[in-house]
Assembly symmetry: C2
DNA sequence: CGGACTGTTGAAATATATCAATATTTGTGG
DNA sequence: CCACAAATATTGATATATTTCAACAGTCCG
């Protein structure tokens, strides 16, 4: 959302402790644990989920490299969300005192962080609208387009296809539907030549049709808005 | 989420222009309009809604006095949400340049604003989980308890009852269900002696039963966390 | 090589939407 | 203050997307 000066980058690089690796399936942080810090995701896919009293799981976000994880919980005494490694991952831990000092000393970085949080909030608003008012197929189209956009920025998309280390179980918890229904929807979308899933690779065969299915267009944040502190 | 010093309060008081009144039903800001600023709600109820391509409306939040309105759109060139007055309202407009200067000059206030945004984000995560995985009745219980808590803080609750200027149409768009279904759910909840609605007054007759119905407990933010800049 | 994930299929059950009509309340101009 | 129109609430019948349950097939990984 803005260019970073060399100084900004230097501050960011020294926020955290040495990188930590987690294997696939590992829980990086469990909900209910005291909130001591946040995490910067360097490599791999991570899901952030909350658990309902009924025991059901809602995945709130699929995190990709570059994302900050667990930041909503910084305002709570204990973590709201469970962070689970969907692939092998590398993360850096940043404690909250460090974040607080950064907010005080670096208004520009603090404001950029605020902007990132507002973007996450918009994504949630869109997800809520999509979940409530549309069919699961349309919702799935929206999710796949969002992933396509984010993975493109990382250079992980080739011919509208990308590695997709997400089981139908996870996909269901993300959309708020059962894994069985997820399966039926993916098959229907394959029959309609919208997608093809092969060996954990997701091919988006017809981007335009997916965009027409999607209940909302993608949102584009401002780059370097005039009110952002220098 | 923290005590404000006299200086903090003085900064806040001078953020905005003179108060503006809107009649019931007025649109304070339409989605798609250029984002020139945010709004501080002084009095009245306001809904924040986004519109899907299908024309359906998702109300994202019911705003009460003290809330800042329209802040998610500050990262976008044009507003994402439509702000509608549900009652007569008084608001104060704050332009984005003023917000930017505040972020640069008042790290403590800026961080408190960030915390408020994170709380909104948690509310949305909970709403998404509730919408996806629970029945409309449970979802309604969660919504009513949240309103009860927020209105209590304003001193607007007496004997677990409060003025409720919200039509079933609005309530439906908030929960992502039709107004007709909203009606049936309210009647069922009345029959079960959970609530009583009379002349735009909502009586919560059995808080404990509502809490048991609610799929998630209410979240309580930290007060004055140790990492908050002084 | 074998067990544990993961994906697939079918049939029955259910929450919610849709359509269509009517009743009730609210606000407003005369 | 009344009359009336508009907004809001209510009811019933039918349609539909999604869940649930149960079983089985495939595939991955140690």
């Amino acid at each position: 959302m803005a260019d970073l000066s060399d100084d900004d980058v230097a501050v960011f690089r020294h926020l955290g402790e040495p990188p930590i690796s987690h294997p696939r399936g590992a829980i990086i942080r469990q909900e209910g644990a005291p909130t001591v810090g946040v995490y910067l995701l360097i490599d791999g896919w991570v899901s952030s989920a909350i658990t309902l009293r009924s025991g059901q799981r809602q995945i709130q976000k699929l995190h990709l490299p570059g994302d900050m994880l667990g930041t909503p919980s910084m305002v709570l005494p204990t973590a709201a969300d469970t962070l689970t490694a969907l692939t092998e991952t590398t993360t850096i831990f940043v404690d909250l005192d460090t974040m607080g000092r950064m907010f005080a000393a670096q208004p520009r970085l603090a404001t950029l962080f605020l902007m990132a949080v507002q973007m996450e909030r918009l994504t949630l608003i869109d997800a809520l609208a999509s979940a409530g008012h549309t069919t699961a197929t349309e919702n799935m189209a929206h999710l796949l387009l969002d992933l396509h956009r984010r993975l493109s920025a990382l250079g992980w998309v080739r011919d509208d296809a990308f590695a997709f280390p997400v089981t139908q179980d996870v996909l269901g918890d993300l959309l708020g539907i059962t894994a069985i229904h997820t399966n039926r929807i993916l098959q229907e979308m394959s029959k309609r030549r919208l997608i093809r899933v092969e060996q954990r690779i997701m091919h988006l065969l017809d981007m335009n049709a997916l965009r027409e299915l999607s209940p909302l267009p993608m949102r584009k944040p401002l780059f370097e808005p005039s009110w952002l502190p220098r």
